[in-house]
Symmetry: C2
Subunit: 402 residues, 2 copies
């Protein structure tokens, strides 16, 4: 082994995949601030600010709102392990990889899993969602608000209404939506929503925000068997963050980063932020469609932060991604499972959702496809530029309504 190790010099990447997204410079500054202990009064002040700011971005008044010390997947596991008891019936809407992951976690908890399926890339309509829940009468319903594997957004309103009719609680995966598009936890009726730090919030990975309705919190208190996970036990986490009782050594560095990321979201304002992300999504779509690529997902079901253009026949997706990475330093990812090799996953989210990035990725994508001999119908970059020009020419427009 070497005697000494030079300082790390990571390559500069433009992170336009499904996440992590580009980290705000202020977040990097927060990461290097001196840490305090996990029981320091200052850390609890920071945690209280995080709670308040998370309530804003989740659009909820839930008191039990905190960050789990792990990545988004730990947030998913916190939701499932706390609210799914062995033997309970759990209804999962399955139309992508992360829905399958929820189903896998439900199985691991020894619960009874019932599934409603749709092909990857489609969303569930209100009627079939209601019918499924009324027929199955589960104790818990889970759906993915923004399916990171397909680029589909799933409306939660009908799911929540039907679930509450049968006294089920609703778990929503908002990993890709939180901070990128409205999640409206209280208005939708979601009982448990979890997310991650590294997509819509433009923070570094390592924390998972979670929020729990009073109804679900009551269910938690009535739980008979303990959560098999001590680390993710929300009763213990609540006791730590609210009553300052030791549970684990929360990372001051990550909490500083999260507080800073959330402060930036708050300063921009949710409406302006969502408008920005939606506008850049539309510009990107205008660009790829002009090039002659089709979007996997039909128009009303598209996630704003994550775009899934189909690749033309005969194009090798690994070569495209390597070209983008090596020639332009741009990271995008490919499809999973049934979508492997068929789509790209292009994230234009959080702090990375800018006109500059939209134009850069369109141009790079065009060159990557050209390197495999494919010719676009028209320039994607020019089409997107025309979209932005129309937007700013429209007198009523702030970018939001266009």
């Amino acid at each position: 082994m070497r005697d000494s190790f030079p300082p790390l010099s990571p390559p500069k990447r433009l992170l336009l995949g499904p996440g992590p997204s580009p980290v705000e410079p202020r977040v990097y500054e927060a990461l290097r601030k001196p840490i305090v202990g996990h029981l320091d009064p200052y850390l609890f002040d920071v945690a209280a600010e995080i709670r308040e700011l998370l309530q804003c971005v989740f659009e909820t008044r839930n008191e039990l709102t905190l960050v789990v010390s792990g990545t988004g997947t730990s947030g998913m596991e916190a939701a499932i392990s706390n609210f799914v008891e062995p033997g309970a019936k759990v209804a999962v809407f399955v139309n992508g990889y992360f829905c399958e992951r929820i189903a896998e976690m439900v199985r691991r908890q020894g619960a009874e899993l019932v599934r409603l399926e749709r092909p990857w890339g489609e969303a569930f309509d209100a009627g079939e969602a209601r019918e499924f829940i009324r027929r199955e009468r589960p104790a818990v319903v889970a759906f993915v608000h923004g399916e990171t594997s397909t680029g589909v957004v799933q409306d939660g309103k009908a799911i929540c209404e039907a679930a509450h009719e049968v006294d089920a609680i609703v778990i929503a995966d908002t990993v890709t939506t939180l901070g990128n598009m409205p999640v409206k936890v209280d208005e939708t009726g979601i009982d448990v929503a979890y997310s991650c730090s590294q997509k819509g919030l433009a923070c570094t990975p390592g924390l998972a925000p979670i929020t729990v309705s009073p109804r679900a919190a009551e269910r938690l208190r009535q739980r008979s068997a303990p959560n098999p996970s001590f680390y993710l036990d929300l009763r213990l986490l609540e006791d730590y963050y609210h009553n300052r009782r030791y549970h684990h050594t929360a990372s001051a560095s990550l909490l500083y980063a999260m507080r800073e990321a959330l402060a930036i979201v708050h300063e921009e304002g949710l409406e302006r932020r969502f408008d920005r992300i939606r506008t850049n999504h539309r510009a990107f779509v205008a660009g790829v469609e002009a090039m002659g690529l089709a979007m996997l997902v039909a128009e009303p079901y598209r996630l704003w932060p994550l775009n899934t253009p189909r690749l033309p026949e005969g194009i090798d997706d690994v070569q495209v991604r390597q070209y983008l990475l090596h020639e332009f330093g741009i990271e995008v990812l490919g499809g999973f499972g049934p979508l492997a090799g068929k789509v790209l996953r292009v994230g234009i989210m959080g702090a990375g959702s800018t006109k500059e990035n939209v134009l850069a990725v369109l141009e790079a994508l065009e060159r990557a496809l050209a390197s495999q001999g494919w010719r676009p119908k028209a320039s994607g970059r020019e089409a997107a530029e025309a979209f932005y020009a129309r937007l700013s020419a429209s007198p009523a427009s702030t970018g939001a309504q266009a």
Copy 2:
């Protein structure tokens, strides 16, 4: 809510509690480096360096050596949830808070728990350890190498030998010892050891190193029921780190920090590092004993990184700690459970183990006790200074042998 949030300005603390310990400046620099994605080739290069460096500090050749994306408690849960199956007999050595936490996790896995107990502050001797294991013939044995709640170090040799006689695997908690004193995983015969980032390694909290012997890895592959935890499933984590197959979004920031912290440990060298920490521990003990305070733990069983002096009768430990925090910016913590109010937990570990810090905490402690009317027999600071002077006067000494 406020419209804008000023940049965070955390108070400067001298972290001399049981952890987190002071973070190396180079680690803060690593934290602010630009992140890459969780599937970026560069991140896997960093992860490979981490593995190699962790093998050095664990003193093991185990291939299955990685970091879990969570704090030390997630490392404990990774060890327990992967290796303790429902119904299995698990023998736990219980003489402190973290042993009790292991027992609690074993219960949550639905296993059969058998305990050997000792009062908090004592260690188990080889004879009773062997007798317990031979009598119970468990599938898994767990012990805490460095008990952070009491300051006791537990020798693992006899435990491992007896466990292997009955074909049990041995889990060791090295949360407080890794990077602070020798853990010698292979020589001792430990099958699974886990730790944290924020004590002996002088990194920020948020990651949990873990290492698994080939014997234990084989047991993992033969496991019948899946781990209830998907997030902590070591088979999936191995597949991610070794085969680059997506499992969760590992935090580039934390991996950079861990790589840098481990590089610093490697550059200092384990022997020099352990000598430094032992020497400063002995100086601290010389100081508190000169003051007239007794150590909770008898001499051969004392952890070097974590000291537990008893408080004099009538002294309020909360007041002492608040005095240290507010007058000197020094964090130390108090006792748990049966030791609440009776001891202080003074960590002189990792990068925080310096002569300067030993002298500072002794002087501050003397003042804090004086503020409650207590008078020391002699100056702790002067006694420690005399200790250091004797050390450097000794011709054969490098600090190590003294």
